[in-house]
Amino acid sequence: MRSKIFVLLFALLVPFAAQAKILDIKEVTSPGGLKVWLVEDHSLAVVALTFAFRTGAAIDTPDKQGVTQLLSNTLDEGFGDMPSKDFQGALRDNAIDLSFSFSRDQFYGQMRTLTRHLPEAEKLMKGAIMGPRFDTEAVDRMRAANIARIKSNLSDSDWIAARILNDLMYQGHPYAMNTGGTVETLTTLNAADLRMTRANHFVRERLVIGMTGDITPEQAGQMADMLFGGLPQKADVPLIPDQIMPQAGQAVYYAQDIPQTSLSVAWPGISVHDPDYYASVVMNYIFGGGGFSSRLMAEIREKRGLTYGIYSSAYNLDHADRLVVSASLLPGNVVKTLDLIGEVADAMKTTPVDAGTLKAAQDYLTGSLPLQFSSTQRTAGALVELQLNDRPITALDDYAAKILAVTPADIQRVAERIFAVNPIVVAVGAKPEGLTMLEWTSIPNAETVSK
C-alpha cells in the first residue's frame, strides 16, 4: 500500500504550473505624476506600503558614516508639534507598523495598517517624511543606542568578518564604509547633518513605491501624492563610481577568544543586469545557495560533519557584486574546508552539471517564487525591489522561462567568470591551524574611521 503511494509521489514532482499570473500587479500613475506598483487584495482589511529612494548609506561621507542609519532611527521620533512620545503613542494605539531602513544604495520606508486606521497612518507617515523634528533629546538617545549596538556587535564574529571583508573588497570605494556608522562618527553627528541627509535622499526622481492590500488604484494614487507630492523633484548627490576589483587572494585573520573560526570566502559576483545573471542564480543554488540541496552542504556538513551550516550568497549592489561562502567551524578544520570549497568550485567550472541536478535547481527556483508573497508587507517589498532592479512589470511571470533556459554550459561559463580568481579569505575567532594569514588587530570602521 505504502510503496504504491510513493510511486505516485515521485511521479508528481513536476514544476509549478506557471499559466496563472503570479501577482496581478497594476501600475498606477497618481494625479501628481507619481508611479505606484499595486497589488489589490481585499481579503483582509490591511494595507501595506513600501517605498525606496535610490540613494543609501554609500552617499555618507567617511567622517559622517552612520548618518543615514541615524536618519532611519530618528524620522519616527516626532514631527511638527507632535513630540516623540505622542508619535510613538499614536502608532501604538492604532496598531500601525511604521519604520525606516536603508541599504548601501537605498533608503526605505515601510508602513502597515488596518484599513480603518489608514487616515491616521498616512498622517503619521507624511509627518515623518516631510517635517521630522530631530529633537536633541531624540537624536542623543538614538546615538547612544547605536553606539551600544556597535559595542554589542564587537562580540559577534560574523559582524567583524563583514567589516574586514568590506574593507578588503571595496578598498578606496564608498562601499568600504560601515553603513551603521562608527563610534567616532556617531558621536559627532547632529540635527543639521540629519536635515541635510534627509534632503539628499528624499527626492521624487529617485522614488519607487509599492502598495498592497485593501486599497484601490485611485486611493493608492491619492496616498502617493499626499505622502510624497511635497518633495522636491531632484537634488544633487555625489555619484557612486563602479567598484574596481581588488587584488585577489588576500587572507586576513582577526583573533577572538571563541571555540570556532568564522570563515568567509569571497569572489567577485555577477550583476543583476548581466546577461549571465540568471545562470549565476542557478549556479549559486547548486554550489552553496540551496541549503540542504547544495553541494557545499553535502560535502562539508552532511558527509563530514565539519560545520552546522555552510552557505553561499550573492550580494548584488548597484556598483559591485560578490559571492560569499560562510561557515563556522573548528580551527583545525579550516584548511580541510577551504580545500573542499575549492574542489566544489573547480567542479562547477570543469564538469557540466548533470540533468537531474539542473532540473532540481530549476524546479526550486521557479516553484518557490509564488510562495514568497505570503504577507502584504512581503509583497509590497517585492514590488519595490522589482522596480529598483529596473525590471518590467511582467518580470515575475517571465522569471520561470529565464531560469528554465539556463543550460549546463551557461553554468560552467558563469562559474569560470566567478571562480577565475583566488578568493579573499577572512577568518575571525579561533586561529586557523596550518594556514598563513595576515593578522589584523583592529576592526576597520567600527570604533574609529579607517584611514
Binding site: 494605539d93 560533519g305 560545520t307 509564488p370
Partner: protein, 460 residues
C-alpha cells in the same frame, strides 16, 4: 468517505466543546475567532487543525510532537534535538539526505525545531503538493532508518551547532546560566541542545528509544494553514497518518518548580564582550495554568514594553541610565511561563544602579497601578494587532501548533482577543505585585572582562 468525514468531525465536537467550524457544520458560537480554524481527530488519535487562508496557492504543513527536551532521561540530555536532526536521514522510500531535496524540488522549504515542550517539523509548499508532503512526513513518523555513518557525522553537526550558537555567543551563554538557576532541577534549566559534556554522550540507542516512546500519531498534532480547508485535508490525512497505528505513549511527567529562596545574580564574562547587558527573569504562570492572571500579564507586558512603555520612558528617555530596555511575557509553556526585563545600560552606569531603578519603576506602578484608560487602550491595540495574525502564511500554523503542544486549548487561542476584554486595572496591578515583584527571580549581568571586579563599570 463523506460518512467518515462527518464521524470525525462530530468526534472532535465532543473534544473541543463546539469550538470548531467546518464546511459541513456551522459554528454555534458567535464569539470572534482569530483563525476560524477547523478541526478533526483521526481514529488513531491524531489531532488535525486547518486554518484556511486563500491568498496564495500555498500551504504550511506542520507536525508537532508533544515531546521535547523536557521528556529526556537523565543520561540522554540533548537527544530530542539530536533525533530531530536524524529524522532527515532516511526512511524506506526516502534515501538519506533526500527529504529536503524533494521538498525543494516542489519549490518548497522545510525544516524542524525542538524545544523543551515539543518537536516540530514543517514544509511550506504549493498547495498541490500537500498530499506528497503528508506521505513523506507520515512515513518518517514510523519508519526512520538512518545509516550508521550518518549518525556519527550528525553528532558532530549538532556539537558544531552548539559551538556556533551558544559557546561563541556571550548573550546566549548568560541565558543558559540564568535558566540553570531559575529552573534548577527542572528540564527547563537544561539547554535544549544539551551541555557540551552531555552532547559528547549522545547515542543512537537513546534517540531510537525517544522516537519509539514519543513519536506516534496519538501524540502528534497536524496543523495546516493556507489555501485549503478541512474537507481537502482530512481525506489526505486519513490516507497517510490515518494508516499508522495508535501507540502507548507515556504521560509527560515533569518535576514541580519551586520558588527561589533568594534573588541571586548570575554574571557572565567573556574576553570579547564590550557592551554590558542586564537581564531579569522570573517565573510566571502559563496561559493554561492561570488563564485570567495570564491575560492580566499580557496587558502588563504590553504597557511596560516598547518605546511608549513605562520602563523606556522612565529609564531611557528621562533618566538616561539605559540606552534600551524592554519587557516580555512568555505565556506558552507546558509548565511555568516567564516574565523578563532586559536592558542595555548607558555608558558607565553600574549594573546594581540599573537593577534598582527597574525595581523602583515597577514598585511605583505596583502601588499606583494603571488607569482604566491605559488598560482599555492596551486591550484595544492588542485586539487590532491580532488581525495581522492572518497576514501570514506560516504564522497561524506556528502559533497554533506551539500553543496546543504546550497544553493550551484551541478555543482559548481563538478567543484570546475577546477574553482580553475582561482584564481590569486591578488585575494588572495584582499580577505585577503577585508574580513580577512578589516572586524571586534571577538577575543576569553580561560584563566585559575588566569590569567584573568593579561590579559593572564599562571598560573603555
Amino acid at each position: 468517505m463523506v460518512r467518515k468525514l462527518l464521524l470525525s468531525v462530530s468526534l472532535c465536537a465532543a473534544l473541543t466543546s463546539g469550538a470548531f467550524a467546518t464546511d459541513v457544520v456551522t459554528p454555534a458560537s458567535d464569539v470572534h475567532k482569530v483563525y476560524n480554524a477547523q478541526t478533526a481527530v483521526l481514529d488513531n488519535g491524531m489531532e488535525i487543525v486547518v486554518v484556511p487562508i486563500h491568498r496564495t496557492p500555498a500551504v504550511t504543513h506542520m507536525v508537532w510532537y508533544k515531546a521535547g527536551a523536557g521528556e529526556e532521561k537523565p543520561g540522554a540530555k540533548g537527544v530530542a534535538h539530536f533525533l530531530e536532526h536524524l529524522m532527515f536521514k532516511g526512511t524506506p522510500h526516502i534515501p538519506t539526505g533526500k527529504f529536503s531535496e524533494i521538498i525543494q524540488q516542489m519549490g518548497g522549504d522545510d525544516n524542524a525545531f525542538t524545544s523543551w515542550d515539543y518537536t516540530a517539523y514543517y514544509q511550506i509548499v504549493p498547495k498541490d503538493k500537500l498530499a506528497d508532503v503528508m506521505r513523506m512526513e507520515s512515513e518518517r513518523m514510523n519508519d526512520m532508518t538512518p545509516p550508521f555513518k550518518e549518525i556519527v557525522s550528525e553528532k558532530e553537526v549538532v556539537i558544531e551547532e552548539r559551538r556556533q550558537n551558544v559557546e561563541s555567543s556571550p548573550a546566549a551563554t548568560l541565558g543558559e546560566k540564568m535558566r540553570d538557576v531559575l529552573f534548577e532541577g527542572h528540564p527547563y534549566g537544561n539547554p535544549i541542545l544539551g551541555r557540551m559534556e552531555q552532547m559528547q554522550k549522545l547515542k543512537w540507542i537513546d534517540a531510537l528509544q525517544f522516537y519509539k516512546h514519543w513519536y506516534a500519531p496519538n501524540n502528534a498534532i497536524l496543523v495546516v494553514s493556507g489555501d485549503v480547508t478541512l474537507a481537502d485535508v482530512l481525506p489526505l490525512a486519513q490516507a497517510t497518518y490515518g494508516a499508522l497505528p495508535k501507540e502507548d505513549v507515556p504521560q509527560r511527567a515533569r518535576p514541580d518548580l519551586e520558588d527561589l529562596k533568594e534573588t541571586p545574580i548570575v554574571t557572565h564574562t567573556q574576553a570579547n564582550v564590550r557592551q554590558p547587558l542586564w537581564e531579569y527573569m522570573v517565573r510566571a504562570p502559563a496561559a493554561h495554568q492561570a488563564p485570567q492572571d495570564s491575560l492580566a500579564l499580557d496587558v502588563l507586558a504590553d504597557l511596560l514594553a516598547g518605546p511608549t512603555g513605562n520602563l523606556y520612558q522612565e529609564l531611557v528617555v528621562k533618566e538616561k541610565i539605559a540606552t534600551s530596555i524592554n519587557a516580555g511575557y512568555d505565556s506558552t509553556a507546558l509548565d511555568d511561563g516567564s516574565f523578563m526585563v532586559y536592558a542595555v545600560p548607558a555608558d558607565g552606569v553600574d549594573m546594581k544602579k540599573l537593577g534598582d531603578a527597574v525595581t523602583r519603576v515597577l514598585k511605583d506602578i505596583g502601588e499606583k497601578g494603571f488607569t482604566d484608560a491605559e488598560v482599555k487602550n492596551s486591550i484595544a491595540r492588542q485586539q487590532d494587532e491580532a488581525v495581522y495574525a492572518l497576514d501570514s502564511l506560516a504564522g497561524p500554523a506556528m502559533t497554533i501548533g506551539y500553543a496546543l503542544a504546550s497544553g493550551e486549548r484551541l478555543d482559548d487561542i481563538e478567543t484570546w482577543p475577546t477574553r482580553l476584554e475582561s482584564v481590569t486595572p486591578a488585575q494588572v496591578k495584582d499580577a505585577l505585585n503577585k508574580y513580577v515583584l512578589g516572586r524571586k527571580g534571577i538577575t543576569g549581568y553580561l560584563l566585559p572582562p575588566t569590569a567584573e571586579k568593579t561590579g559593572g563599570k564599562d571598560a573603555q
